[in-house]
């Protein structure tokens, strides 16, 4: 057997991609009195699933708790067969788990959204650092520069569009309370961010979510105001939102023709 063939054989068995070919494994792996060849391979197969289940559970501990150990392991096994790890960082293996749960039957309806929120919090916790801009940056701008001003957001900010409001459920689980609020169906936009080492999340109003989406895509302040058109005073709503983004440390720089070279 070539090196390629040996690795194909062993990898298939360990990861479950090609679990059979037992006779070939018996030929390639040496038997010893203490442990037959196939049991030696099984040591690696068991470690594979345990290691990856642990990695996903680290991302979504509350979701894992809600599912219970056996159900969680079973779901992760299925998930891995569709989303095997392709990153050198084992911490990336669970990044699609929440979205993948949406296609499963027999689960509490809001569990996928809980998993998506937990994964986002996990990503935000260790996302790259960036020095944030203070609201004072805006004060240096002449009013006629405002419409063309754009904002650059910190890499740790995440905006989620969930199908359920899972904040109360997350809170109950995080505080170890016995209550389990019933699933709260309804589209909810949630921002997740970090200040220093602490991770926060909050729900966004419809207009703020729209404004933030425009801003994160590089839209100007004028376009951000347009996204708040549904508000009684769109300009005020947009400025309130922008100021809160600065206060929460979401903005790292301001781009304006009048600030060229200063951002």
């Amino acid at each position: 057997m070539t090196l390629y063939e040996v690795q194909a054989l062993l990898h298939g068995r360990i990861t479950g991609v090609a679990p059979h070919r037992e006779n070939e494994l018996r030929e390639q792996v040496l038997d010893r009195p203490s442990l037959p060849a196939l049991e030696r391979v099984e040591i690696y197969a068991r470690m594979y699933i345990h290691r990856l289940v642990d990695a996903v559970a680290e991302d979504v501990p509350h979701t894992a708790e809600m599912l219970g150990h056996d159900r969680f392991v079973d779901l992760v096994r299925q998930y891995l067969s569709e989303h095997p790890s392709c990153s050198p960082d084992i911490g990336q293996v669970g990044r699609h788990f929440g979205a993948w749960l949406r296609g499963r039957e027999g689960l509490r309806a809001d569990l996928p959204d809980l998993a998506i929120l937990e994964r986002a919090r996990s990503e935000v916790r260790t996302a790259p650092d960036a020095p944030v801009a203070g609201a004072g940056t805006l004060q240096g701008l002449p009013p006629d520069a405002f419409p063309a001003t754009r904002f650059v957001f910190c890499p740790s900010l995440r905006v989620l569009h969930l199908r359920h409001d899972v904040r109360a459920l997350w809170d109950a689980l995080d505080k170890n309370r016995d209550e389990r609020p019933a699933p709260a169906r309804g589209r909810t936009s949630v921002a997740v961010w970090r200040q220093e080492f602490k991770v926060f999340h909050t729900a966004l109003s419809g207009s703020e979510a729209a404004a933030l989406e425009v801003a994160r895509e590089g839209g100007t302040l004028e376009e951000i105001c347009a996204a708040c058109a549904g508000e009684p005073e769109p300009a005020h709503a947009a400025f309130r939102a922008v100021l809160s983004w600065f206060a929460d440390g979401w903005v790292v720089s301001v781009k304006s023709p009048r600030l060229r070279g200063r951002h």
Binding site: M1, L3, L35, Y44, S85, D129, F197
Partner: protein, 275 residues
């Protein structure tokens, strides 16, 4: 030649508060490379605080140097970027494979010790060292199986890789012991087969005895037989930077530091006995 750093420990999340807020330190720290690629927040702050006053080395688990997959060049670029930022004393990974068809098993799988595998690994180590612009260290792994087609011993294979590719060896004494028991070879023969001038670092760790085999768990103190083998290693290789690994059921920092101190005193006693 790589410098002597003393007796260090692995940088682990559980110890972040004591390291960051109380300024506790070992002689040096080993960090898992993959845990710090594109990472900010608390882990990065702790790494920078520790690096400000102690040497750090990068220890990878995903290089997959023996895999038949193409070398992951993005991973190498990321590692090089981290190395430029951290300025580690050296970078290391394992003599193993873990990916196939770009699918990562996240394990340190043993290689068949054949001429084909030897040529394959040597060529890849040369490429990696060129791309990183530095020599690397390769660590012997614990293993639970051996291949019928192997024609070399593990120690001959490791020694030959280090000579042909001009890389260094991270000698994991616990892994030597675990594999020796699991495969029935003489651990001292392993040590005797490793070239003295290639060993740049030693690992120590604990394992579990599962009856049919030893499992490399890194979840317990270094057991007596591994300490005994460490003495033999110091006798053969002399003064070598030594690191205690503790990755699961991690005790308070003091306990891990005490293991590093034990390694220091054992090594000193052995070195004093040498002619």
């Amino acid at each position: 030649m790589v410098p002597f750093l003393g007796h260090g420990i692995g940088l682990r999340t559980k110890h972040f508060p004591e390291l960051l807020e109380q300024g506790r330190r070992a002689d040096w720290f080993e960090v898992i490379t993959e845990n710090f690629l594109h990472v900010g927040g608390r882990p990065r702050a702790v790494l920078e605080a520790v690096r400000a006053d102690r040497p750090v080395v990068l220890h990878g688990v995903s290089l997959s140097i023996g895999s038949v997959d193409p070398i992951d060049r993005q991973y190498l670029r990321d590692m090089r970027g981290l190395a430029n930022a951290v300025e580690p004393a050296w970078v290391s990974d394992h003599l193993c494979w873990g990916t196939f068809g770009r699918h990562n098993a996240h394990d340190l799988l043993p290689l068949p010790f054949t001429e084909e595998a030897l040529s394959h690994v040597v060529a890849r180590v040369v490429e990696v060292q060129e791309r990183l612009g530095r020599h690397i260290l390769l660590e012997n792994v614990s293993s639970y199986l051996t291949y019928a087609l192997s024609t070399l011993s593990e120690w001959d294979f490791l020694a030959e890789v280090s000579r042909r590719a001009d890389c260094f060896i991270l000698l994991d004494v616990n892994n030597v012991y675990v594999s020796a028991i699991n495969h029935g070879f003489d651990a001292l023969e392993f040590l005797r087969g490793i070239p003295v001038d290639r060993v740049a670092q030693i690992h120590l760790a604990g394992h579990q005895n599962l009856g049919t085999h030893l499992l490399d768990t890194h979840d317990a103190p270094v057991p007596d037989p591994v300490w005994a083998l460490y003495r033999d290693a110091v006798r053969r290789f002399g003064r070598v930077s030594t690191l205690v690994e503790w990755d699961d059921r991690i005790p308070p920092l003091d306990e891990v530091l005490a293991e590093a101190e034990k390694a220091r005193s054992l090594a000193s006693a052995v070195l004093e006995e040498l002619p």
